[in-house]
Symmetry: C2
Subunit: 401 residues, 2 copies
């Protein structure tokens, strides 16, 4: 009848416009970690299913993997095993009324979660050149016995958008990985010109990021700080060996040349094109040797004039210098001055003593709050266990292995 | 009637599924230069229009710009002017039956192309946070007086996908720009440690890319060569000042240390994560000092064992060394050996003479074919006009200004 036709037409229109809306939402999200749950949520809703699983194929390991919301760990299963594994391998859709009737269905999830998987519609996800990249599986059609042919057509259209969205976000991840690896490698090469500063920029970055999270910086601020920290000493590329590698104390002229490195860093970073939201990197990096009392360099800015990122890096930078070997004498052990890593309690008391003069007191407080995490990060690597374990034990005994 | 309903339903279904297909195609294309004509083609087809214009908003210059197929130059128009300019400024759709009746319609295009713009449907393009980023305009609905309300709904849905596709591809462009600028800056910093090698890596890259295009390398091969060339000397970061900056000829031990730089380059590049399709960068970069007769370093590979990219870089690298000032004597002018740029005819005769021993003859031939372009690239910059003009005039007189 005409009424049926109208209802059918309305239904179709709604279905397809919701598909377009989902396509829009999915392709607009390029952050892989946010995209993953977004796909699961949207597909579950649009398909009127009880659950949705999304698996990505890892061709190198011949496995599928998925992430469960809120959990960091990936769940992995071999290609070819279970419903998803079979669909991933064959590239053919599977539509069943009751999964429990399939001999190869794995009931582990159902048993662990007191769930009953009945109807399943499982679709391979392909990229734009037709290569299989994953599997999308909807479980238990609500209000119906099983998924019908309309669901199949609909999920197929949806899956093609999911494929594009996944591929785009993976490409972005890859580009970011490339950018980050190049930055990190080159920064490490500059550190490595002096055997005692190898790894310095990476440690300063790690400490800075711990402080930033402790202080609740925004995502853009954290990203900006990350690049500023990893690159803060890149200007040392322009310092001559005779200065940079000098074993012993600097004469004033040498100190003056060494102290040009933040300005050289800025000159290099000003030529970089940083992604949107990270324009502050050069400005934050250039001020890592400033002090809140205005006695630092190169600009002698005071605490209220300094970017928070620079003040965070100042603490991270000095802490790493104190707790690493250096050519210059840092403290007296027994009778002799030496450049060994300073005992931890002494390094920490210096940070505390200089809070308000060299350092921003809030930053020092935030660093002390995450100190056990900072020490654990490099325990057994840069820090011998005996150097850090007393401190970790006294602050956070549960963290020690 | 029921038949009308069925036809209407079929029409709707077709319309929407073509929208989904277009959405798929658009969001799958992340290369901005390919995306632009793809959008224009797809929209013209799906909307049954005679022409489509796509404009991107440049908020900094307060202008719109577009690209016409096959032309390199952008067409720019001020925000607020004409139909597109007004829609870009107001953010409101415009649907007119005859553009010529609008006092602000600019007839220049029509007059120049003997075209008659009648019906126009012009829609603002917004990104996923609702900011205006461009304008999509379809012109002259085929078979109808004007665009109707269904066209409006349809173009609106299409425009939202166009917005996502543009935004994604612009993000990719930005990330690539960031990656490239960081690579280029750091490579330039390494060159700049010695005043006579400043700009060397960039010139070697430019010469290599000219040769690569002349020889018809694929897009991936060209990209790989680009990174290998810009980074080929990055290993010099690990060469001591005493060697790198030595003014005069090396003793054998110094030469040996200097000659470790390709291996150091490879060690650095092996830590990079290069995007897909560019995994060969370290391998191509490490072999830029090899010779086709197997007498080069570090591996003494012969012509058939060497990647083409390395053989291209070898020619570009030596050509730049010969035509730039160096500390070491390169040739005898009159009575004295000197390190000045060698006269061009002499440099070219060396390339020719060494074809088959040092260089791949095909690469030398390709380089000589694009020599005028290579010289023009740096005429008035690295090359004084009087140094290159005779050569350019003899090879390609039309190219000289």
């Amino acid at each position: 009848t005409a009424t049926d036709h109208l209802a059918e037409q309305k239904h179709l229109k709604e279905l397809l416009s919701s598909l377009i809306a989902v396509a829009y939402d999915l392709t607009a999200e390029l952050d892989f970690d946010r995209l993953f749950p977004l796909i699961i949520g949207k597909v579950t809703e649009v398909m009127s299913a009880e659950r949705t699983s999304l698996y990505i194929i890892d061709w190198e390991r011949h496995e599928l993997w998925t992430k469960v919301a809120e959990q960091v760990e990936q769940i992995r299963l071999p290609l070819g095993k279970g419903i998803s594994g079979r669909v991933a391998e064959s590239g053919e859709m599977l539509n069943v009324a009751d999964a429990w009737e399939l001999p190869y269905f794995d009931r582990t999830f159902d048993q662990e979660h007191q769930f009953r998987t009945r109807s399943v519609l499982c679709m391979p996800i392909k990229n734009h050149v037709g290569e299989k990249i994953g599997v999308l599986q909807v479980i238990n059609k609500k209000g119906k016995e099983r998924f019908d042919s309309e669901d199949e057509i609909f999920l197929k259209a949806l899956t093609s958008q999911v494929g594009i969205a996944l591929e785009n976000s993976l490409l972005i991840e890859e580009l970011l990985l490339s950018f980050n690896s190049s930055i990190r490698t080159l920064s490490a090469m500059v550190d490595a010109r002096h055997p005692l500063t190898a790894g310095h920029s990476q440690r300063v970055t790690d400490y800075s990021l711990l402080i930033a999270r402790e202080m609740g910086l925004s995502k853009d601020e954290v990203e900006t700080l990350k690049y500023a920290a990893i690159l803060h000493d890149i200007g040392k590329i322009g310092i001559r060996d005779a200065i940079l590698l000098k074993n012993g104390q600097f004469i004033p002229e040498e100190r003056a040349e060494m102290n040009t490195h933040p300005v050289k860093t800025k000159a290099i970073l000003d030529k970089f094109h940083f992604p949107k939201g990270m324009q502050e990197v050069p400005d934050i990096a250039v001020h890592h040797h400033e002090k809140v009392n205005g006695q630092g360099y190169p600009d002698g800015l005071t605490g209220d004039q300094l970017p928070l990122g620079s003040k965070i890096m100042a603490v991270a930078d000095v802490f790493d210098a104190l707790t690493s070997r250096r050519d210059y004498p840092k403290y007296a052990s027994g009778e002799t001055l030496n450049g060994d890593p300073m005992p931890l309690p002494m390094a920490i008391s210096i940070l505390k003593k200089e809070a308000g003069t060299h350092f921003d007191p809030d930053v020092v407080a935030a660093f002390l709050s995450c100190l056990p995490q900072a020490l654990l990060l490099y325990r057994g690597d840069h820090f011998p266990p005996e150097y850090v374990d007393d401190m970790i034990r006294s602050l956070a005994p549960d963290l020690l292995p």
